[in-house]
Structures are given as C-alpha cells and as structure tokens.
C-alpha cells in the first residue's frame, strides 16, 4: 500500500448542481484531494450495492478545494444508466470513489504560453490545469468545443481564468460554427503558444495533434478510452503508443495515460494492433527490446 497512489473511499456528496446540459458533483474526499494533480481522474461506482451495473465510471477531476478537509468536484453529462443514476444523487448520499487515477499533465518548467483545447466533457480536466499553469506564470488560452451551446462545459470559468477563450459548436449555437481545430491555428498564432494541452474524443485529439505539429509545438493529450477498471489490471483500455525507444506498445490509457504526448499516440491505428507493435502477431522482438521490457516499471 502506497502513500501517493490512489485511495478508495466512501465519501459523502456535498452537492449536485445542474449546469446547462451537465451536472457538477462535489464529494468530500480529503485523501483524493490531497494527492490530486491536474489531468487525473476518479472512478465512481454507480447504481448502489445491488446494481446490475458492475463497472465504475471514470470522470476527470474538475476542481479540488480545501473545504471539509478536501473536496473533489467532477462534471458530467448524462449519457446512459450510470450518469443518469449519478444525476439523481443528493447531498449526504455516499459515493464509492477511487482516485486520483492516471498520470497527470506534465507542467512546463518555464512560464510559457499554453493553449488548452477541450471537446465536450473533455474540458473538465483543463480547468485545474489552467490554475496550475497560471500559478507558474504561464499564459493560458482556451479553445472549447461541443455539439451545441449546452455541451460546452464551464464556458464562463474559461473566460474568467484565461487570457482569451474561443468557443466552437457543431450547430453554431455558441461561438464559431465548426470544430475546435477550425480556430486552433489562429489562437496558437495570436497567443504565440509554446504548447498545447488537449482533452476530448479521439478524432479531436488527432486533429489537434496535427495542428500543433504544423505549428511545431508540443501537445499533451488526455484520452477518454472506455475503461473497465481504471487502475491498470484489466487491459481493456489499451491504445498504441510509441515509446521513447521507438517501440510501439499497447499501453493502458488508465495508468500509462490518460495523458500522453500527442506525437506518440498512433491515432491512425487506434482500434487496431499495429503490425509493428510489441507482441503483435508475427512480431519478433530483438533481445534488446525484451531486455528493455524487462527493465520497465522497475523503480
């Protein structure tokens, strides 16, 4: 049992707020709050003790506060049975929450200019990131998108904490009609961004990575893959990622991610096992690759 790893707690709901088309739940969870770094997420058991819904639901942590020893907030849209159940929680109900999970966003050493790009619920983890970056003296600009106005999470907060905030919606009901990548290039140029952080659906992350590449700046992406366990034991959340050693591995987005360097994610091959991935059918690894494997994770 480790001290900075995730904890599992049954924590009381402080409040559930409805905001446009989404909900914000705050729970009292000091153990999670004190360990939290931006980009990390929680996983929440849904449906109660006798639920037929077995698996936890992952949500990015949107905010932590010191109240009551430490609170954690996450935002969610109702998608299916799990989020519908969560939306019905009331204060003082208990939630079984595990967190903080996953690798956080790496923060720049220097006060550089960062543009933060979020799609739909993917905006959520960008807000604590923005705070951390601001604390380091970074300039922060936001580009947030969604299907429609009410699917753009926390637009007001974005305006408040960022230098600039641009919005896009598929239906044009808010901000520019179109995709986040339709405005991203302009924002990068105008804000002289040095780095991009993005979170949202895979196609968006791919497009954002391409834009950042065109501008020659690094990009960190946080993926939202389907996850059964969130703690690295089920192997259902894998995506192909190229390691520092040039070898592609099927890595777990819950513990090896959810944050990756955009250039290292093989977006074109998500949903496949690339032929040159370590252990792919027909793959014959060099003994060097194997030795590297055996050394990994020892530390």
């Amino acid at each position: 049992m480790s001290d900075n790893g995730p904890v599992q707690t049954r924590c009381p709901v402080l409040n559930v707020r409805r905001v446009d088309a989404y909900y914000a739940i705050t729970v009292v969870a000091p153990g999670i709050a004190e360990r939290f770094r931006s980009g990390q997420f929680v996983s929440v058991a849904v449906g109660g003790d006798h639920s037929s819904t077995l698996l936890r639901r992952p949500f990015a942590i949107h905010d932590v506060k010191p109240d009551y020893g430490g609170t954690v907030e996450f935002l969610f849209a109702v998608r299916g049975s799990g989020t519908a159940w969560l939306a019905e929680r009331r204060s003082r109900d208990l939630l079984d929450v595990v967190g903080p999970l996953g690798r956080p966003f790496p923060l720049p050493r220097d006060p550089v200019n960062c543009v933060l790009v979020g799609g739909g619920s993917g905006s959520a983890p960008l807000f604590p990131l923005a705070q951390s970056l601001r604390r380091r003296g970074c300039r922060v600009d936001f580009v947030l998108g969604g299907a429609s106005a009410d699917r753009v999470f926390s637009a007001i907060t974005a305006r408040r904490i960022a230098e600039t905030a641009a919005f896009t919606t598929d239906d044009g009901s808010f901000g520019t009609r179109g995709r986040v990548t339709d405005v991203l290039g302009r924002v990068i140029e105008e804000s002289r961004s040095d780095a991009v952080y993005a979170c949202g659906p895979m196609p968006m992350l791919r497009a954002v990575t391409a834009v950042a590449g065109n501008h020659g700046i690094p990009v960190q992406v946080a993926v939202e893959e389907t996850m059964a366990c969130g703690i690295g034991i089920c192997m259902t959340c894998v995506i192909p990622v190229v390691g520092e050693d040039g070898i592609t591995r099927m890595v777990r987005s819950c513990v090896d991610g959810p944050v990756f360097r955009g250039e290292q994610v093989r977006f074109d091959d998500v949903g496949t096992i690339p032929f040159d991935a370590l252990g792919a059918p027909g793959w014959k690894g060099s003994s060097a690759a194997r030795a590297a494997e055996s050394a990994r994770d020892i530390a």
Partner: protein, 313 residues
C-alpha cells in the same frame, strides 16, 4: 475472526482460500495500492505466453447485466519478463504466486512449465486450457477436446518440477465439464480451477455492430456465478478428492461460502477486482465474519457441505 482459514491445493498451502483469478489482478502491484498483497491466499497471474503479446484490438470490453464481456487476447509481457520483473517483486512483498500459462501449442506449454519450474518461489502452475489449439482443424480450444486437454496437462506435469502443483483451468462451455475434469485428473492434474469466461456477445445498439472487436467476447462477473457453482458442484461430486479453485462472479464473503459448500477449497476473485479494487481483502474479511456468525472454526469444514445431508456443517 477466529476461524482457521488455511487451505491446501495439493502440496500448496495457503493461509486462506481467497486468491485472485487469472488475468484480473495485473502484476499484483496495482492492487497493492489498495491492500497488502501478502494478506490474501495467492495472486494468480494473467496467462503468460512464451513471447510478449499485444492482444486484441479495441474495443475490448462491454458491460452486460451483472457482468462484462471482454476480449484482451492475453496481452502480456511474456514469461521471461514476468519471471525476471514481476515475480521477484511479488515474493519480496510476501505474496504467493500461482502462475498461469498459455501455450501456443502443446510444446510451448511444456517449455513454459520448464521455465516456471526454474524460478524460485512459485506456488503452483495453472494451465489455461481455454486458449485456441493451433492443431485443431476447427480452431477449437484445448478445453473443447478432453483428450487434447489431457495431453497439455500431461506435458505440463512432465516438464514441471515434481513438487510444483499443476492446476488445470477449465471452461464451462465445453461438451462435458465432468468428462474434461476427469481427463485432466487422469493426466495427473493436482487440482482444477473453474470456470473461465464463457463465450458471449453484445451488440452496440447505437451502431448495431458487435460491441467488442471481433464479435465474440468472454462473459464474466456475478452473472455467471450459478454456472460456475454448478460446475464445481458436479465435478466435486465426481472427484471429491481433487482440490478445486472456484472462480466466477465472486463478489462477497458469502459467495466464497457458496463455492466452498459446492466443493471448492479456494476461491478466485476476478471481474469484481475491476469494480472494487479492495475486493479481495473485503471478501476475505466478510468470509471470516460469515464463518464466525455460523460458529465454524475451520474453513475446511465447509468444503463440500452442500453435498452432505442436513445443514452441512
């Protein structure tokens, strides 16, 4: 919490009957974040192959009522990496290891058994008979053909160190699980683990396409528990001397009681680790409490109770 929880699987002695199910506990490190891994009976590893393995494409899972469908394709680092990297860590924490192996053919099973036997500190070998038999013309699994399964077990037995118990892991969706068990016992399996996931399918009703890549996946979780308990009961009835690890949908301490009453000497926790990372230690505590509440002083008394007339214990 006074009951004597010790249990035996052939020559393997465990401090208590709660183990992890193969492929459902990572390397042990991940769960160690939530409880002391030495506290539970043993960690069963994912099924290891000779070579590293990338597994199947995503999507790899879908949720089903009280269960899940998965298809990871036995992604793993290969046996050598496990023996060099993960096993020493587990032993250093005081844990016990049941090493599950999966050969791409009969010969590989032998080689895997040999390599596992050379390592220090392994508690037992579990033979995953649910992997496809490359020599089968219809692409069936070893478990689908009792004779093929027996050949694998025999090969493992003859390559494994003689003091290392060999457990055969059976599937339930086979022509006849009792016959399969008998063939494995005859081939000198020291124990049986059952059940593995059952082949099933889910359709994504948005896209109307199969929910996991490749169509079929393996069904696991509480949904399948009655099928697992049924297999344990029938096999224990046929071979009462053979120790069994009961696996399938264990969620609570009373589920352990259920499997043991049906005939299991130990019980594996699988899918429920995903939904509750503290499950193993919670289940162990609840089991302990359940024995206390019933005034049972030794867990082993419960084994097979459902086969006996009266109230069992």
């Amino acid at each position: 919490m006074n009951a004597d929880l010790r249990t035996r699987l052939g020559s393997l002695r465990l401090p208590n009957p709660v183990v992890t199910a193969a492929g459902c506990a990572g390397s042990g490190r991940e769960l160690e974040q939530f409880f002391d891994i030495a506290e539970i009976g043993a960690v069963t590893t994912k099924s290891l192959m000779l070579e590293p393995r990338a597994g199947r494409p995503a999507p790899r899972m879908a949720e089903t009522p009280s269960g899940m469908l998965s298809t990871t394709g036995m992604q793993g680092p290969g046996i050598d990496v496990f023996l060099q990297r993960d096993l020493p860590w587990l032993l250093s924490r005081g844990g016990r290891a049941i090493v599950s192996i999966a050969g791409a053919g009969v010969g590989e099973f032998g080689e895997l058994a040999r390599r596992v036997s050379e390592a220090e500190g392994v508690g037992a070998i579990e033979v995953n008979l649910s992997c496809p038999n490359p020599a089968d013309p219809a692409g069936r699994r070893f478990a689908d053909d009792a004779a093929q399964a027996a050949t694998v077990v025999q090969t493992v037995r003859s390559h494994a160190r003689s003091d290392l118990p060999v457990l055969a892991k059976l599937s339930a969706d086979v022509p006849d699980v009792v016959e399969l068990a008998g063939a494995c016992v005859t081939a000198r399996a020291d124990g049986l683990t059952m059940i593995n996931t059952l082949r099933g399918m889910s359709v994504d009703t948005r896209t109307l396409r199969p929910a996991v890549a490749g169509g079929m996946g393996g069904l696991s979780g509480p949904a399948i528990r009655p099928l697992a308990v049924g297999c344990v009961y029938r096999v224990h009835e046929a071979f009462p001397e053979v120790p069994i690890i009961g696996v399938g949908g264990v969620r609570t301490g009373t589920d352990v009681l259920e499997f043991m009453a049906a005939g299991a000497s130990a019980v594996g926790v699988g899918t429920v680790n995903f939904s509750d990372p503290s499950a193993c230690t919670r289940v162990l505590r609840e089991f302990n409490e359940a024995l206390d509440a019933r005034g049972v002083s030794r867990a082993s008394e419960v084994v097979g109770a459902a086969h006996r007339a009266g109230t069992g214990v």
